[in-house]
Symmetry: C2
Subunit: 337 residues, 2 copies
DNA sequence: CAGTCAAAGGTTTGCGCAATCCAACTTACT
DNA sequence: AGTAAGTTGGATTGCGCAAACCTTTGACTG
């Protein structure tokens, strides 16, 4: 259990800890003979330097903190995977906290990670969180912070997001180009920027193609039952020829409702999702959707963070990256003419 | 950036660091007056104790290491979620490493986490890994270790797994009880214990119900194309009335192949999956499957680990928990008569 | 009123490491 | 031979904290 230290080796060889430290760190001013003896004993005893001691001394932990809303969400795990791909090769460790989309827990996580003296922080802000003092604090004490996927305007820090506006615009345009004219839109949860941006992308596409924006075609999806009630009459009256949903799960429900009404996808109605969740390719028909570069978002965010941490980017310099999405056309939409 | 220490507070108040330490730790022998002054200044300056220093002193980091094969696998994320639910309330932090199912990376992760002086380790061994010296080392140096989901017989340490044998047995029995007699089985990847155990559960069910084991009904799924080639003739000749697949993704392919041949699920053929992945309930028909208590497995493993770490369980005592699965019957199988 | 004791706090030490500053002991050259 | 310049390594310090061990002061006892 007790791990051996440089002092142990020093004692055994009748030298000082300094000498051992220098030998192990390859400083040139140790004679070949002494060095060999030290290295040999270190090897034999399985010496491993104690990072805690180093951290205490150098005020550097080679650790980054990560705050995500939850583990069981494929999107965040792809982001996480991207983050890990970078931190791993750069020799940093990840300490993860989850926020459960709750302000209190998120705030506590921030505090915990700062307490642990992480070298930097990556965070995906939780849904429905609209107070950001905890993130402001990170910036105030000058700990590098990069936000992922979701931003808060108030806090001046670097971030990496995907272009929800553009993604939704392209998806809507695809529907239009494939002949749809009466496109319904199902909104996501209120209070997150993505919801707003995708919605605006949808509207922009209509505008661009000079289609009227019809408020009755836009449905809130806060309650599944609500969705069914609102959507069914629109479908029965054949007012829609396409539905664009805020995410793939909602899209699934939409397909379900459409089929319940006796219509078929995509013959009667096209359906477009968003996010390219794994479930999208297991639905029937397979769902056309917008693929977000989640892995890239994670790796880019981590890469920016580590550049700040390592001093290659001034902390004052605020980088904001907005990654492009990609349409994934499957069977729930017709081919574009 | 520079965080304040007890020494800073001590200097400001003209007392010694010990006094500050004692005041902050609620030791009774500090006068009310001194304590108030110290607490007030600590509060004002936002003092936060440095866990690195404490760890160095007490040889305890309040950190557990976690090794999983990959992030982008829903099952592990549920496990992770379960682990976090325990560590969070017990005040421990999680440092995660991934192995990418590669021995070298897994070994390196073990080394990294040991170097970081984690108080204990949780690990889900990667696929195709059959050398376990790195885990043996953990046990040797007496760092608490609990294996999750997959075990290696050689290493004597606690573990938490699910009962694949029982799960597969029950699933197969369900098929039998709902009238199926010609049950095909699609095997999983070779070299992992789960593959073997589920397969044995399938065979046990046949035996129990005195159905013959027919080798030609068992197909390896190593290649998707292979699966199609092997399965199609069995289907066309109507030799099967049910297929039990090693996991839900394979089950999806099976359904696809069945429908391709012109048969319907579950009318012509029942299909049973395994794992209850999210995709299972988005397939059409919705997939009957075996639900694994992933979250519980994680929380139980974490709970056992922390009990060892905190000395409530002797490290020498080996706990092995085998959690039960649960059948989730959806639309890909008929109702049991 | 000396002696005792407890209250309140100071001093020292060490966790493991490495940077800084020193001190021997060679060589090497005038 | 004497000094300058390496060579090789020791001693000390401090990162932040807390345990172990001392010291001072006043109050209280017999």
């Amino acid at each position: 259990m007790k791990r051996i230290s440089i002092t142990d080796i020093a004692r055994a060889l009748n030298v000082t800890p300094s000498t051992v430290s220098r030998a192990l760190n390859g400083e040139p001013r140790i004679s070949e003979k002494t060095r060999k003896a030290i290295l040999a004993l270190a090897e034999e005893w399985g010496y491993r330097p104690n990072p805690l001691a180093k951290s205490l001394l150098h005020h550097k932990t080679f650790t980054v903190g990560l705050i995500i809303p939850e583990f069981t969400h494929h999107f965040f795990n792809q982001v996480l995977s991207g983050i890990e791909s970078i931190t791993n090769v750069k020799g940093y460790h990840i300490i993860i906290c989850t926020s459960d989309n709750a302000y209190d827990k998120e705030k506590k996580s921030v505090q915990t990670l700062l307490d642990m003296r992480v070298d930097g922080l990556l965070a995906a802000i939780g849904n429905n969180i609209n107070t950001f003092d905890h993130f402001q604090e990170i910036v105030d004490i000058k700990v590098p912070l990069v936000l992922v996927d979701r931003i808060c305007e108030d806090v001046e820090t670097s971030y990496v997001v995907t272009n929800d506006f553009e993604g939704a615009l392209q998806a809507t345009e695809y529907l239009i180009q494939s002949g749809c004219r009466q496109i319904g839109y199902i909104k996501g949860p209120t209070h997150i920027s993505t919801t707003f941006n995708r919605y605006m992308g949808y509207r922009e596409a209509l505008k661009k193609w000079q289609l009227p924006y019809q408020e009755e075609f836009v449905v809130e999806s806060n309650e599944p039952q609500n969705l069914r009630e609102k959507l069914t009459p629109l479908l029965k009256n054949r007012l829609l020829d396409a539905v664009f949903a805020h995410n793939d799960y909602i899209a699934y429900d939409v397909i379900d409702i459409i089929q319940e009404v006796g219509l078929t996808v995509p013959n009667d109605i096209s359906v477009m999702g968003y996010a390219n969740e794994p479930v999208a390719s297991y639905m029937s028909p397979k769902l056309s959707t917008v693929k977000q570069p989640a892995f890239e978002m994670g790796s880019l965010a981590a890469s920016i963070l580590l550049q700040i941490v390592e001093g290659h980017i001034a902390p004052s310099q605020i980088l904001s990256e907005c990654l492009s999405t990609e349409l994934v056309i499957r069977a729930s939409t017709p081919v574009r003419s």
